[in-house]
């Protein structure tokens, strides 16, 4: 790091200039410097012409590509912690995961709870708050509540006895969840009675509604989108398969009867979504793809047998299996590997692959003012990546929090 004369006249916050890099700016990768002050991306022209300011520090990025930090809107746990199953360990788990995923390039995330009992929600939800990222870990953008208002038939791994029919209308939302203050996304099945009213109520509160774990046909899905839903939870998984006379929820990708851009989550780990299916989705609707890991507690654990809660799991070949079997237990994909896989599978551009983990989730959550791009004035959460999209460094609010050579910056935790 090269120290230059302090520039205190302009602002008491130091100005950092990242040099010798390429940056993802306005949907293109260009050779330019990245300027940061007080945790935000700075417009260097404004600094130069109006404030007459200049950099206090310069950092040689050694030709890295700088992209926005990744956003994971669906992650159930990791590093041995499962957010849904152990209320007493939730705070600890959030901290561990928030830090661990810095090494995957994730700078903000939505901790995800699967279908649980009202009692469990009452214990867990108040413990999770929207927080800014720091050297302790990625920021929390709010909860993703996946269930319990879902289809029994398409519940997947969610416990059947806790699935809720939403028969009490919008009041059920409050009775079951008890607190919606820190909720960012709710996944529900749009075919449930009262689903439309629930969608409208949630959207009114600024919560993103996702359709999923559902047997809805396309018509129902379209109605739900027109009522305010804007996301599809792990496309292809836990929904009716695509059929040419009723394409179901998958058909939303090509619908001409909806009034907004629908985003869709995909688990691009090469296991949960076949590369051909990924290509079909991407080529149909490239602007809507949102990469999610949907990762379980085994994310980040080394290969071998692990006892997680009541379950024994084998981690091998980049997947988690029920111990001693070949039954997939869930995803342990890292976000950085999903970005790479998307690019490999669809042969999309680097920009498109990165935007699936940055711009699109930010648009989905309506937070592009702060996250998902390197636009001036947004949060300085960004990554150094190489040509193959391997994450080399992670920055939050302009501060380096992880480096592939030296590890986590915050050694204390």
């Amino acid at each position: 790091m090269l120290k230059m004369p302090s520039n205190g006249l302009v602002s008491h916050h130091p100005i950092i200039q990242f040099r010798n890099c390429r940056i993802l700016h306005q949907r293109r990768i260009i050779r330019d410097d990245l300027w940061v002050r007080n945790g935000e991306i700075l417009n260097p022209r404004k600094l130069f012409w109006e404030e007459k300011g200049y950099a206090d520090h310069q950092i040689d990025c050694q030709n890295a590509i700088i992209v926005p930090g990744y956003i994971d809107v669906q992650i159930n746990g990791g590093f041995g912690y499962d957010f849904s199953s152990e209320p007493e360990l939730v705070s600890e788990g959030i901290q561990k995961v928030a830090q661990g995923i810095l090494s995957h390039g994730v700078t903000s995330f939505c901790p995800t709870l699967i279908t649980s009992s009202p009692d469990t929600y009452r214990k867990i939800i108040p413990q999770i708050h929207k927080t800014e990222g720091s050297n302790k870990g990625a920021g929390v953008l709010g909860l993703h509540l996946e269930g319990p208002f879902i289809s029994v038939e398409k519940r997947g791994a969610h416990p059947q006895h806790l699935v809720h029919p939403l028969s009490g209308g919008t009041q059920d939302l409050f009775d079951v969840y008890s607190n919606l203050d820190d909720v960012a996304i709710v996944t529900l099945a749009p075919e449930l009675i009262n689903a439309k009213a629930a969608v409208q109520e949630l959207v009114k509160r600024g919560i993103t509604v996702s359709v999923g774990h559902s047997t809805a046909n396309l018509c129902i899905a379209e109605e739900s989108v027109n009522a305010g839903a804007s996301f599809i939870t792990h496309l292809f998984n836990a929904m009716l398969p695509f059929h040419h006379r009723d394409p179901g929820i998958v058909g939303l990708l090509a619908s001409n009867a909806i009034n907004r851009c629908v985003y869709y989550g995909v688990i691009a780990d090469g296991i949960h979504t076949h590369p051909a299916a990924l290509r079909i989705a991407f080529q149909t609707h490239p602007d809507g793809v949102v990469l999610v890991t949907d990762a379980l507690s085994a994310l980040g654990l080394p290969p071998g047998r692990h006892q997680l809660g009541t379950q024994q799991l084998d981690v091998r070949d980049n997947a988690a299996y029920v111990a001693g079997t070949n039954t997939l237990s869930g995803s342990i994909a890292t976000m950085s590997s999903c970005v790479k896989f998307l690019q490999g599978a669809t042969r999309c551009t680097t920009v498109e692959a990165v935007e699936a983990a940055t711009l699109h989730p930010a648009q989905l959550l309506g937070i592009t003012e702060r996250k998902g791009t390197l636009d001036y004035g947004t949060d300085a959460d960004f990554l150094f990546v190489d040509e193959d999209l391997n994450v080399k460094r992670t920055y939050i609010a302009g501060e380096m929090v992880w480096d592939s050579k030296t590890g986590f910056r915050n050694k204390s935790s």
Binding site: D33, P44, R45, L47, F48, W49, E51, K52, G53, Y54
Partner: protein
């Protein structure tokens, strides 16, 4: 007058950049003694700026104690418009070097009172102690800065309406839409540039060969404003072969025979300390 003839655009750009480098290094600017540089925009100087940036990045040249004054800026074009001269200077030069923002001057084409802005600009130049080296390019009609044909040769910084030819030529930068091209500019006058201690004018390409002929082989004329520098005691024209197409063979041969002298002016900085020592003797 010096006429330095190089093989092509890139050689001319390199020569110009080395000349600027050596002038600054020999001047040894400090916080009490700034080197004041006049700067042009346009396609011609881009190669020179690139070379100067290379020198800076190689650690040979610092702009920390350099003040700059640009020649001109459009009126009414927003500062960050990609075709503004503020944008040009930021992208092509300033953001790559260590110049201090407060030492950079470009006329503000969005000033409330444009006449006042022009007066202030002249004062700023005076306050800086005048311009040591003014670098310029020209248009095919021989205009220097926006001193279009017919401009007074003693003109000062002022608002100028652009010639129709210039507007048409610029349309390519504004979606080929004439109505989007600014029609006025603030520009230093010919007289402003004439007051510089030294003037270096870069002229490249066959399309400017007639202008070069008018600049140096015919009389001083306000219809070819660049010709005014015939009357300047220290003017260097840096040109490429193509730009000499309209010159007499005799002119070209004479100045080419002087190249060994010219090339001494741009020798690499390794030899510079020696040059300095000799001067001190």
């Amino acid at each position: 007058m010096r006429l330095v003839i190089l093989d092509d655009y890139s050689k001319a750009s390199e020569w110009a950049a080395k000349y600027v480098r050596n002038r600054i290094l020999e001047f040894s600017p400090t916080k009490d003694k700034y080197f004041v540089l006049g700067l042009p925009t346009g396609s011609t100087p881009i190669g020179m700026y690139k070379k100067l940036i290379e020198f800076h990045k190689a650690g040979v040249l610092s702009f920390k104690y350099v003040k700059t004054f640009n020649m001109d800026e459009y009126v009414g074009l927003e500062r960050d418009h990609p075709e503004s001269y503020h944008s040009f200077m930021w992208e092509k030069f300033f953001k790559h070097i260590d110049i201090v923002p407060e030492n950079v001057h470009i006329p503000d084409g969005n000033a409330e009172d444009l006449d006042e802005e022009c007066r202030k600009y002249e004062q700023e130049i005076k306050k800086a102690g005048g311009i040591e080296l003014f670098i310029g390019g020209i248009g095919p009609d021989g205009h220097i800065a926006f001193n279009e044909p017919g401009s007074s040769l003693v003109s000062r910084t002022r608002v100028k309406t652009l010639a129709h030819d210039t507007i048409i030529a610029n349309a390519r930068f504004f979606d080929n839409d004439i109505s989007k091209v600014p029609t006025m500019a603030l520009t230093v006058g010919v007289g402003t540039v004439m007051e510089a201690n030294e003037v270096m004018i870069i002229i490249t390409g066959a399309h400017k060969s007639y202008a070069l002929y008018k600049a140096i082989e015919e009389g001083v004329s306000h219809m070819w404003t660049v010709s005014a520098f015939q009357q300047h005691p220290r003017t260097i024209f840096v040109v490429d072969e193509d730009a000499t197409l309209e010159l007499r063979v005799k002119t070209v041969k004479y100045f080419k025979s002087l190249m060994y002298v010219h090339d001494k002016l741009v020798e690499d900085s390794k030899e510079l300390p020696e040059v300095k020592r000799q001067k001190k003797k």
